[in-house]
Amino acid sequence: MKADPRGVLTGTHFMDGDHACCEGALAAGARFAAGYPITPSTEVVERFAQRVPTVGGCFIQMEDELAASITLQGGVWGGAKAFTVTSGPGFSLMMEHIGYAAMTETPCVFVDVQRGGPSTGLPTLPAQGDMMQARWGSHGDYEIIALCPNSPQECFDLTIKAFNLAEEFRVPVMFMMDEVVGHMTEKVVIPPADEIEVTPRKHTHKSVEDYLPYGTNGDMVPEMAHAGEGYKFHVTGLTHDERGYPNMTPKMQQKLVTRLQNKILSATDRISMFEEEGTADADVVVVSYGITSRVAQRAIEMARADGLKVGKLRLITAWPFPENKIRQLAAHIKAFVVPELNLGQMVREVERAAAGKAQTFLVPHAGGSVHHPEEILAFIQEAVR
């Protein structure tokens, strides 16, 4: 389906990442957002609040992030595409409802413009310390999808992708920006609406009698109905059967939670997006994501200038983690170098997938700024040895 032209600001813009994210949401068809102000993410909803009344939609500023993260889901079940935007401390408060969205299969997008933590940490400075929280932050077993843009252009393009994936898989998608990407201003090209592909809701066409709210047709993603359409369906965060009725038995738990996990994991290769370059004959591959990938690019160029064989793997999809890709690379390289604006999060996944076949080096950074390319270069030089 093509984008609704009302929401698409076609043209070439000089725009920061937060605003580009908002434009991406509008282009993707988001017509409802609930938010709570928090630096450095607020510009996304500020722009949404300004724009959405002119395209037919609604923004509400809620009393806290707990409210925002469930209000948006009410909006989804009311028929809208919806999202919320936050940063670390607010993201922590939203964990409960990421679990609720996963359990109830509510398609929605959580934008997290990451800043330094823990706690209030560094409100105005970047970090990538929420990557594991995005994956594991709510209790219990579930899968989500997480995307990591590294430029304002990607904040636009990948926000659309985030909404599309949310609809396709009926899953909450984490849009993992960071303060630098959010506040960086660059050229953003917004194409005409008829060049933007958006995924419509997986809305049921079944009759009221035939409709099973959590019944699947082999692809593990149930069809959805909205409130007010006469289906009289039930939605609960409790373990439930295909009718949506609570069924708190080990058998149903096994069936439901396994499906929630497998609907994502079985599609990992399809969901995975990465940018790969120079890995074929590489000794070392630098694995990075978000803003760090742009610093890593410089380090890779410096290393190549020194004659080192260095490849690049930029993760665009962080979750589900592209294990197969790492495994393939591990078979023929010496080492991975993983710079992150944290003290070691995604590097654990790289190390796990490499399974000892290649060494793994973390280039840690506690956040507050980005790496110096030289820091990453030093690890590349060590890894090549």
């Binding site: 017509r31 009344p53 509400i60 809620m62 009410g74 909006g75 809208a80 006469g230 609570p246």
Partner: protein
Amino acid sequence: MTTLVSPIPGNPVEPFLRSDRMPHIWCPGCGIGTTVNCFAEALIESKIDLKTLALVSGIGCTGRVAGYVKLDSFHTTHGRAIPFATGLKLANPGLNVVVYSGDGDLSAIGGNHLIHAARRNIDLKVICVNNLIYAMTGGQTAPTTPGHATTSTSPYGTFEPSFNLPHLVEAAGAVYVARWTTFHVRQLARSITEAFNKKGFSFIEVISPCPTLYQRRNKMGDGLETMKYYKEKSKTKHGAPTSEVGLTLNGEIIVGKFVDRDRPDYSTLLKAQMHESLGDKYVDYDEEQGYACSADGGCEEDSCH
């Protein structure tokens, strides 16, 4: 030969229930089921189109109402029924949204949302079944537990002051506030009907027995004894100042319709402001198309119902 003079009529509440989920989990003498009868009666009385009705619950004994009613029903997270309902209502203003939950859910963990929804005057009908305790988790002190009552987490008696919910929501901005007990079935049904005819944030508190945890621990007898107490100690005072309707352990229960006033609701204010500021540029919610089509991709799609 005997013929029945009229067909055996079904229980009037039955069409509103998921009969395949009966019997329910509520204890003998619990009043929540009684409130559901009154809710059903109000649905019949108000002739509301059930297709437009969505019911949202939080967590707790009353939170289970969502699972038992044959409506679009959402059993959300603890305390968050009101913000979920807010999203539902804003995304589809054509819906009639009822929040049906307990005192702990709405006024403790959800207290912030309660006052803000009342302040915004979101068009929600909130039915708060108040059993004065956290029942689902085993009888702990709630913000509504009256002084001196014994609970599992106040074994020597509650000493924290409790919330007077009608006073709280009136101060926060609710346009309709009533309180009844589960003894007052006809009055409760009438209040719910009135709330359906009212635009804005309506709050109906229903004092209800929890014989298993509250009454037993406080040696107040069973559900029936409690109902007799309600009958004996309740005093109807319509329009009573809500500051004077606080509850005590064994005292009088003031019931009645306390507040019935008019104030523009959130959506009305939103539209007025947008029209004033944006003029022709404002794209209003479309009764025909809604915002819903943002998800489904336009009304030419046959997925749009």
